[in-house]
């Protein structure tokens, strides 16, 4: 058989189906083999699926015409899968117990969605959209179950703890290495940035004090009225002071006048005497 013929043979749907089937069986056998202790029959699920799919394959080989009908093929595959997982669920192992019911839901829903209208979608995007619509709900529930599972949470916590230890060691080693090379390290940068932040904080506090000072004496109508009243009172007092001052001036003037007058009187009194004395 030439290479070209081989390649054509590989595109035979029946052959593809067989290859996929063998591959899937191997994968599931490996997966479930890890849970041997929890199974009465470690290969129970494997055998069950194998039997179901063998039936499907035999049917397909007996009537090759049906292989050209994707609707029928899909139907048979999902039927086989549902049956297999139903049995798996019955086995009731821990993880399978979590996954199996959801998986059955997915396959059942996928069957409904993808064969909606009685035909397989020809558009691949449409196919995947339908598959997603079918799978997303049950898969979300399934992941939710897993994310709540104690074993999963325990493993996650430990993984994070181990990663943190590893990261700390790596960071410390890097710091020391770059310090020895006289190169600035992340901690140097962090320290510098910290100083800038502290400076920024101080500037902001000063700005706040200045703003409070500026806005602390904010004039309101009330304060302006009070101030005007006080000014009026001050002005009234100033007026009084003016009056007092003018009175004082008048008094001073009067005193000045009176003292001048007195002097003149004295002078006028003494003058005739002098005149008279001189005359005498």
């Amino acid at each position: 058989m030439s290479e070209g013929e081989k390649s054509r043979a590989n595109t035979d749907p029946l052959e593809l189906w067989r290859q996929w089937y063998d591959m899937s069986l191997g994968a599931w056998a490996n997966l479930l083999g890890g849970n041997e202790e929890t199974y009465g029959d470690p290969y129970g699920l494997y055998r069950s699926w194998f039997d179901n799919l063998r039936n499907v394959r035999e049917k397909l080989e007996e009537s090759p015409a049906e292989t050209t009908n994707p609707y029928e093929t899909w139907w048979q595959w999902t039927e086989a899968t549902i049956e297999t997982w139903r049995r798996a669920a019955e086995i009731g192992t821990r993880m399978t117990g979590l996954i199996a019911p959801r998986w059955m839901e997915i396959v059942g829903e996928a069957q409904k969605q993808i064969l909606d209208g009685g035909n397989l979608p020809t558009d691949p995007l449409d196919f995947y959209a339908r598959l997603y619509n079918a799978a997303s709900g049950p898969l979300t529930k399934m992941t939710d179950d897993i994310l709540r599972d104690e074993a999963f949470l325990e493993i996650s916590k430990r993984s994070l703890d181990y990663y943190a230890i590893f990261d700390s060691i790596f960071r410390r080693a890097s710091e020391e290495y770059f310090s020895n090379l006289q190169l600035p390290t992340t901690s140097d940068m962090t320290q510098t940035a910290g100083l800038i932040v502290a400076l920024d904080d101080k500037v902001d506090r000063i700005e706040e004090v200045l703003e409070d000072f500026e806005h602390g004496y904010k004039a309101t109508a009330e304060t302006i009225d009070t101030l005007e009243e006080r000014l009026d009172r001050v002005e009234r007092r100033l007026d009084q002071l003016d009056r007092v001052e003018s009175k004082l001036d008048q008094l001073l003037a009067a005193r000045g006048t009176s003292s001048d007058g007195g002097a003149q009187t004295e002078a006028s009194r003494s003058a005739p005497q002098e005149e008279s004395g001189s005359s005498t």
Binding site: S136, S168, E208, E211
Partner: protein, 355 residues
């Protein structure tokens, strides 16, 4: 011949779409987000206080200050033109501000809720009041930002706090009500010291994984199924791109704040018990007396309905309203549902209280 050309053109068209899809998956979705014009009126360390600009006439004298969480980016509140909560509020005549905490660096590993609530928030509030020449303001907190706003409101319950709006805000962290987080963050499975001592801050990718794993199918697969569907059917991709960009754009969480979040909130539920203290000051939610609007999503998988509803029994306000919407954590604030339900509810509640 023409038929051949048509087929060939269709094929090229398909390859173009395929290439675009692959590019988006590999490089991440690109979109112009946070487009509403804004002015930075204050900065402190990495935090920025934005004042959003608009030509719409300001109808209400009481400004709205949006407080976002310490996780993820704040531009979810201003995602893109036509799908922005900020833009909506401006259009309704509100004066809008947002406090964006920024991206913490390694030097910020010791930043705790004390720093944010007692140092940053009062300062931002003062700045807002001075900038808007108002004497009171509305505080609007989203998610963890809501929890921070509640704590601020209990410590500063008097003027200038006029209204408090809480969106998807957890106050009760009883494990049974907290979904997967309640389990993951329990003392048995989470020791925050391991992360804080090792990394300083919680690395962005770790924070992202923690959130995405709550719904792995939707986040890791469903999102891209939607992308291919939109792409191949030539439907508008803008909304998807912006949303996907935000969802895949995590930021680190300051170590000290994360430690408090896990220990004081999730593990010890101190807020509900009245045992929460910030620099020795007890956070007593019954001291909150201002009007409160509490919004939560029925489908929220991050903040569950009982976690948010608990606030109503803890606060001392007489004017308080709780609204449960048929939406998820993000769907509450953006998308068609938000435009139809949440945005008008917020505006209608705020309008008479912002006179």
């Amino acid at each position: 011949m023409m038929e051949k050309n048509a087929t060939s053109s269709e094929l090229w068209d398909f390859f173009d779409k395929y290439a675009e899809g692959v590019k988006t998956i590999v490089e991440g979705a690109q979109a112009d987000t946070g487009q509403t014009p804004k002015e930075v009126i204050w900065t402190k360390n990495k935090a920025k206080l934005y004042h959003y600009q608009t030509e719409t006439e300001k109808k209400y004298p009481v400004p709205v200050l949006l407080i976002y969480a310490l996780v993820n980016r704040s531009y979810i509140l201003d995602l893109m033109p036509g799908n922005s909560f900020v833009e909506f509020l401006l259009g309704e005549g509100f004066d809008v501000y947002m406090l964006d905490w920024g991206i913490p660096g390694k030097e910020d590993k010791d930043m705790s809720f004390e720093n944010y609530i007692l140092d940053y928030m009062p300062r931002a509030v003062k700045k807002v009041l001075r900038n808007s020449q108002a004497e009171e303001l509305t505080l609007f907190g989203y998610c963890m930002g809501g929890t921070m706003s509640v704590m601020y409101a209990s410590l500063f319950p008097d003027k200038p706090l006029k209204n408090l709006v809480l969106l998807a805000t957890p106050t009760d962290f009883t494990p049974e009500n907290a979904g997967l987080y309640g389990l993951w963050f329990s003392e048995k499975y989470q020791d925050p010291d391991v992360i804080v001592d090792t990394f300083g801050n919680v690395p962005a990718n770790l924070a992202y994984t923690g959130t995405a794993m709550l719904r792995p199918m939707a986040n890791y697969v469903g999102s891209y199924v939607t992308m291919w569907d939109l792409l191949m059917k030539e439907k508008p991709m803008g909304g998807w791109r912006a949303m996907n960009k935000w969802a895949n754009d995590p930021i680190p969480v300051p170590g000290a704040a994360y430690k408090q979040w896990i220990e004081d909130f999730y593990q010890q539920n101190k807020l509900v018990k009245g045992e929460m203290k910030l620099r020795g000051r007890r956070v007593d939610l019954s001291k909150i007396k201002c009007p409160v609007l509490n919004l939560a999503g029925e489908k929220d998988h991050l903040v569950f309905r009982p976690q948010a509803e608990a606030t109503m029994n803890l606060i001392g306000s007489e004017d308080k309203e709780s609204v449960i919407l048929d939406a998820g954590h993000v769907g509450l604030v953006m998308g068609r549902g938000a435009k139809k339900d949440l945005w008008p509810q917020v505006s209608n509640w705020l309008a008479p209280r912002s006179e």
